[in-house]
Symmetry: C2
Subunit: 153 residues, 2 copies
């Protein structure tokens, strides 16, 4: 599966989040080009402050593999990960990150911070960004326009 | 309950982690001076890359309160939070952090990064550090000396 094909699935996950009032962000974990897990943001649904799409997808992938070390895995996500989610990529030793839209408010993979390539940390993650970014941004813009609220990822 | 009393409990949690081969880190969530949750590192036990003491304690606290917003909560933890856990403090809108030992390898609350006081982020956390730091460090040193391995938080 290509990055773009995985991002299509992540975008569908993001759309699904809006059904329960969650910010539309979706994520997919790939290993050897095959989907191991796919989730969307569930913070409002589950009242869990850590229930971002990336954390949920990484937890599912680890459960499937029976190992917290997700070496060789690629996380494909519609929005640039926040500090928590970027940290989860490091904790899980994820090899590669593909994201769509950059996040000027909380992005930790190139915008406000870049944990993925900090030589002081004990792991590095290859990053590809901007994949179908317009689609991801459009979902977010529509969601917040409908709510007329302020984004609070 | 004082910070020091809560840290005693967090240290006991940290010690409990070693029974299943996990790095000894323990955490307690307090609201209005009372314990809402207490957990320890379970990454090896559960094979979940996000199962650090802080994440688990915050998830438990949110479940108890029925809200991902942990405003007014204090997290007391034996070791300075890593990027993932510091990010979880922000995601959960935790008001205050008390930690013991600083973490020169991954500390994200004053050492390598400081998410708690970054004005670009949408939340700030008051921080007190160095509470019973020697006890927390001693637990970690003994654990790694016994394993003769390299710390990999």
């Amino acid at each position: 599966m290509t990055d773009e094909e995985a991002m299509e699935i992540a975008l569908a996950e993001a759309t699904a989040a809006t059904a329960h009032g969650d910010v539309p962000v979706g994520a997919v974990v790939l290993i050897e080009g095959k989907i191991v897990s796919q989730r969307h943001n569930e913070r409002e649904l589950t009242k869990d402050p850590t229930a971002h799409a990336e954390v949920l997808a990484l937890r599912d992938a680890a459960e499937t593999l029976g190992d917290w070390r997700l070496s060789g895995a690629t996380l494909v996500v519609t929005l640039e990960p926040c500090p928590m989610c970027a940290g989860a990529l490091l904790s899980g030793r994820v090899s590669r990150l593909v994201f769509g839209a950059a996040d000027p408010k909380a992005g930790a993979c190139g915008t406000l911070y870049n944990f993925c390539t900090d030589p002081r940390l004990n792991h590095a993650v290859d990053v590809r960004h901007g994949v179908m970014a317009a689609e991801a941004s459009s979902l977010l813009s529509s969601f917040f326009a409908d709510r007329r609220g302020t984004p609070t990822l």
